[in-house]
């Protein structure tokens, strides 16, 4: 299951849909809590069905053994009239379960009809139906039920089922309506409508199957609620008190003063049975909840222990030094000869841990980021580039885990720190002060309930506790001004800003503490081209002015070539090529880079034919042996399947400083010749 989480974290691909629905439902049973819930419910159902055959006595038969405690003859004791409590419980299970399941069936049918109709038909019908549902939802149901039941005295179980249905359908209808609304806009439903399929068929074939989980949850919830309601009504004497149900037992116990006589065996079993059955149904429902909401499933894995274990290897603690931030030397333009490394990553390996094993999302990646450099990291989704970005800042969440490697940060004053060895307090201090992040989607990365100004300010409050409020306010305005947001927008909420402005606000937050490094994870992907250009130009201008280094992550290679000093290409969790941008563009060395460059038009430069790469990005769980790219590589040969290529210097003229991980560049002459003469495949 964690693998699904990994896959989801890496790519938004719905990994769930690949397995058959029947198997998915079976997976529900794998959780021990859900399984025990199902078993308990089944036991109750079976007992209710076979009650007449296994009851030791007639539940209404009176005897001389009155108010006797539990014994061999009466396992659960007897009542005031000498009736057997166990037999009453068994018969009671029948009535209670009948009401519970009957009411749940009727209620669910009604909610599905109303909810799906409202959601699918839309327009005025929807308005009226959802208004009706909302009205019923806020009406207090138990008083209404009591009154209705009082008007229908002695109507038996059927009357109570009807009453519960009337008062209980609204919740399910509302949830299903919302679901239908969102399903109706999905591609497969749109497609079915375009082909002129009749409405009822679309609803039955395309919409309902996708709502099974929600319908099941609402059904089980109603069973519990109905059993509780029936028990309440029976206890109040508003149901037929001559028909045995758990509520009726409690009614007779109450009127028979079981409490005062201390006959606990009379009133304990019935309530306990309701509670146990209710708990079991809730456990099944939790299972369904986790099934619907994968994030809840990850909660089980995201334990504290795992969080502590995020960095596996124990390492010597660096001493904490808290020195005043050294003012950065005036920004000098970056050159490829620079050796002033600000962030050194060595053999970094990030794995997703699951019951089934460990999946390597980032595989022994090394690079050096120099002061003032823009390092571009390119790769398809699933190549591990975002995982890498999070790992650098230790923001990765379980089940992701840094298995090995080193991340070393060097401050402007020459002081070095081991990022992976920091404890929580040191990490908090390091974060944003030295390294900040701009997330992919500002829409999701900004807190929706906090004003923009406050979201900038709280960084300053956390890291510069001594700064006075007016000074802070001035800094917020200054930052907004730097990224070109009008000052009065400081008091706006994220949803009130346009997409471009939100992204600029993100950048303003990133600049708040004047960090040495800014990691940008696809900062412009969600924006249109014009805004994208504005933002990029802003970033480059700020970089030149303020002199920070940038790790820029994107799948947009043409953009990357334009703005990066150095480019690293990732494939299957590995860096397969790293080169100065200029060299990379002119002489890409790895076949994958060549393919990537062939599939993107560049904004400037000569015209050329677009080619692209065959196949799709690899599944990290099942990487091909040897070179991960070989299955899609036009130049693959035998050795590629057995030998993992290392990232090595490529010694061709004109490509000084290029590193590539490809056997084409490291195998003996003969193989290269062989390749030159003909394909080996």
């Amino acid at each position: 299951m964690a693998l699904q989480a990994a896959a989801l974290a890496e790519a938004d691909a719905p990994a769930e849909s690949s397995a058959g629905p029947a198997r998915l439902w079976l997976r529900l049973l794998r959780s021990p809590l859900t399984l025990s819930g199902v078993i308990i419910v089944l036991i109750f159902v079976v007992l209710a069905i076979i009650a007449p055959w296994i009851s030791p006595y007639d539940p209404s038969a009176v005897s001389d053994t009155t108010l006797a405690g539990p014994s061999a003859a009466h396992w659960l004791g007897t009542t005031q009239n000498g009736q057997d409590v166990l037999s009453q419980m068994l018969y009671g299970a029948r009535a209670s379960m009948f009401v519970g399941i009957g009411a749940a069936v009727l209620t669910t049918v009604l909610s599905v009809v109303v909810g799906v109709t409202a959601g699918y038909v839309g327009g005025i019908g929807d308005e009226v139906l959802s208004l009706l549902a909302n009205v019923f939802l806020v009406l207090p149901s138990l008083p209404l039920t009591i009154i209705l039941a009082a008007y229908l005295p002695h109507s038996g179980s059927l009357g109570i089922i009807l009453v519960i249905t009337v008062t209980g359908w609204a919740w399910g209808a509302r949830v299903l309506r919302a679901q239908t609304l969102s399903l109706r806009k999905r591609d497969f439903v749109e497609a079915a409508r375009a082909t002129g399929e009749p409405t009822w068929r679309i609803i039955v074939k395309d919409i309902l199957p996708n709502q099974v989980a929600v319908i099941a949850a609402s059904f089980l919830g109603t069973v519990t609620a109905a059993i509780l309601t029936q028990a309440s009504l029976a206890f109040l004497g508003l149901a037929d008190v001559t028909q045995w149900s758990w509520g009726t037992i409690l009614y007779w116990a109450q009127t028979g003063s079981a409490l005062l006589t201390g006959a606990w065996w009379w009133f304990v079993p019935a309530g306990l049975a309701i509670a146990v059955l209710g708990t079991a149904l809730s456990l099944v429902n939790f299972g369904i909840d986790e099934f619907i909401n994968p994030r809840l499933r990850q909660a089980g894995i995201g334990t504290k222990k795992a969080q502590r274990g995020q960095v596996r290897a124990g390492r010597p603690r660096g001493r904490r030094h808290r020195t005043a931030p050294v003012p950065r030397p005036a920004p000098a333009p970056f050159t490829q000869d620079s050796t002033d490394v600000v962030l050194q990553v060595r053999d970094l390996r990030v794995e997703y841990v699951s019951e089934g094993g460990r999946t390597r999302a980032v595989s022994d990646v090394s690079f050096a980021l120099r002061r003032g450099e823009v390092l571009g990291i390119a790769g398809e989704s699933g190549s591990g580039k975002s995982t890498l970005a999070y790992a650098i800042t230790r923001l990765h969440k379980p089940p992701a885990e840094i298995a090995r490697g080193e991340i070393r940060y060097t401050a402007p004053d020459g002081r070095g720190v081991d990022v992976l060895a920091m404890d929580e307090a040191e990490l908090r201090e390091f974060r944003w002060e030295e390294l900040s992040i701009v997330f992919q989607s500002a829409m999701h990365a900004l807190n929706p309930v906090l004003r923009i100004g406050a979201q900038i300010e709280d960084v300053i409050v956390a890291h510069r506790p001594r700064m006075a409020a007016p000074e802070r306010a001035a800094r917020v305005l200054e930052l907004l001004d730097i990224v070109g947001i009008p000052a009065d927008r400081a008091s706006s909420y994220p949803h009130e800003l346009s997409g471009g402005m939100r992204q600029r606000a993100m950048i303003a937050i990133g600049l708040a503490l004047d960090p040495e490094i800014i990691v940008m994870d696809e900062p412009t992907t969600a924006l249109d081209v014009v805004i994208q250009r504005q933002i990029i130009e802003k970033i480059m201008e700020l970089k030149d002015r303020l002199g920070f280094s940038v790790v820029f992550i994107t799948h947009d290679l043409s953009l990357l070539i334009e703005l990066s000093d150095t480019i690293a290409v990732m494939y299957g969790g590995k860096v397969v090529e790293m080169a100065p941008a200029e060299d990379f563009y002119r002489h890409p060395q790895h076949p994958y880079s060549q393919g990537l460059l062939g599939s993107f038009p560049t904004l400037g430069g000569p015209k050329r034919e677009l080619t692209g790469i065959v196949g799709s990005p690899p599944d990290l769980r099942r990487l091909p042996s040897g070179c991960a790219f070989r299955t899609r590589c036009p130049h693959a040969f035998d050795a590629c399947a057995t030998k993992v290529p290392e990232l090595l210097q490529v010694g061709e003229p004109g490509a000084r400083g290029t590193l590539a991980a490809c056997l084409l560049h490291s195998v003996p002459e003969t193989t290269t010749n062989e390749l030159a003469t003909g394909e080996t495949r």
């Binding site: 909302n134 009154i147 209710g278 909401n293 201090e429 974060r431 929706p448 309930v449 709280d458």
Partner: protein
């Protein structure tokens, strides 16, 4: 502002629907409850009471529309006629005596249950995987227990076995109702068990909902960004995670409130607490229809008001709802 107006309009509409429903129910019910009731009193009812009863069941010479209008008149004047369960008291008098007991008890318990449940749910979500996770099955069990049965157990344990608290009622009979220390102490003492029952039984629902929302919220990008910003743990937990996670709890307030109120009504019966629940129970047993429909109206209006308050709080807490 427009959002608030729309909310107010919705609740007015709901109130209208509930009040009209209350008018309709006696008229569409099968059988002849009015005659049954009149026969029960063996002619001891005053002619005006008999007339009122026939009006309630729509057996007057007026047409439906006129009946509806005079029904509304009685709603606004608070004139719900005579109670049969408490004959010859007026319905309004009976309600006036009992409603404050329920109002105070349920308000305090609802607020307590919400605050404690949400706070524990926040912690359980934040520290998921720690011992706090064991709260989930425990509270699931607690919230599956019928309120009234839980009340029975509380009475059995703390009133009968340990004799820590009084068995039933709202105050010691030797006290006089009023703002004097003796009465207030006595009322508090009598309220402990009912309040504990309702609060404990209602915590579970809030806790589980909040925990699950917290877990969902913790994987949001804005929480990750808050961590990346190096903010303090408290700031991340309260302002970024919990602040967003509690919004669905609030918007689901209506349904939960209905549940708590329903449970409280039956709980009152067990404790013989002098509130609306006990009155409704007595009314239902003696088929006191005027009293029942007045109680239904009263509870509905109070629930609608509580929901309006919750909705306003929601508008205040979630800036996204403030426009459009």
């Amino acid at each position: 502002m427009r959002t608030i107006l729309r909310k107010v309009f919705f609740y007015l509409l709901t109130a209208w629907a509930a009040i009209s429903l209350n008018f309709l129910i006696p008229r569409i019910m099968p059988g002849n409850p009015a005659d049954n009731l009149i026969n029960q009193f063996h002619g001891k009812l005053s002619p005006s009471a008999v007339h009122a009863l026939r009006v309630l069941f729509g057996q007057s010479d007026q047409n439906l529309w006129q009946q509806y209008l005079s029904y509304w008149h009685s709603v606004f004047t608070g004139n719900f006629g005579t109670s049969y369960a408490y004959y010859p008291s007026k319905v309004s008098t009976v309600l006036g005596q009992s409603m404050y007991w329920t109002l105070i008890l349920v308000t305090i318990c609802t607020v307590l249950g919400f605050v404690i449940g949400t706070a524990l749910g926040m912690l359980a979500g934040w520290k998921r995987g720690s011992w706090l996770d064991s709260l989930v099955p425990v509270t699931t069990f607690l919230s599956s227990i019928p309120y009234f049965w839980f009340a029975i157990i509380m009475v059995y344990l703390f009133a009968i076995t340990f004799k820590w608290f009084p068995l039933s009622g709202g105050y010691a009979l030797d006290q006089h109702i009023g703002l004097n220390a003796g009465f207030i102490t006595s009322a508090l003492n009598y309220a402990v068990l009912p309040a504990a029952t309702i609060t404990v039984a209602s915590i579970g629902g809030w806790l589980i909902g909040m925990r699950n929302m917290m877990v969902t919220t913790l994987s949001e990008d804005y929480v990750r960004l808050a961590e990346a910003k190096g903010l303090s743990r408290r700031r991340v937990m309260y302002t970024y995670a919990a602040r967003n996670a509690m919004l669905p709890s609030l918007s689901g307030f209506a349904m939960s409130l209905g549940f708590v109120i329903g449970g409280s009504i039956v709980t009152e019966v067990v404790f013989n607490y002098p509130g609306i629940g006990s009155v409704l129970f007595k009314a239902a047993q003696s088929a006191d229809y005027p009293l029942m429909s007045a109680i239904f109206l009263l509870i509905t209006v109070l629930v609608l008001l509580a929901n309006l308050v919750a909705d306003l709080a929601y508008v205040f807490l979630d800036p996204r709802t403030r426009e459009s």
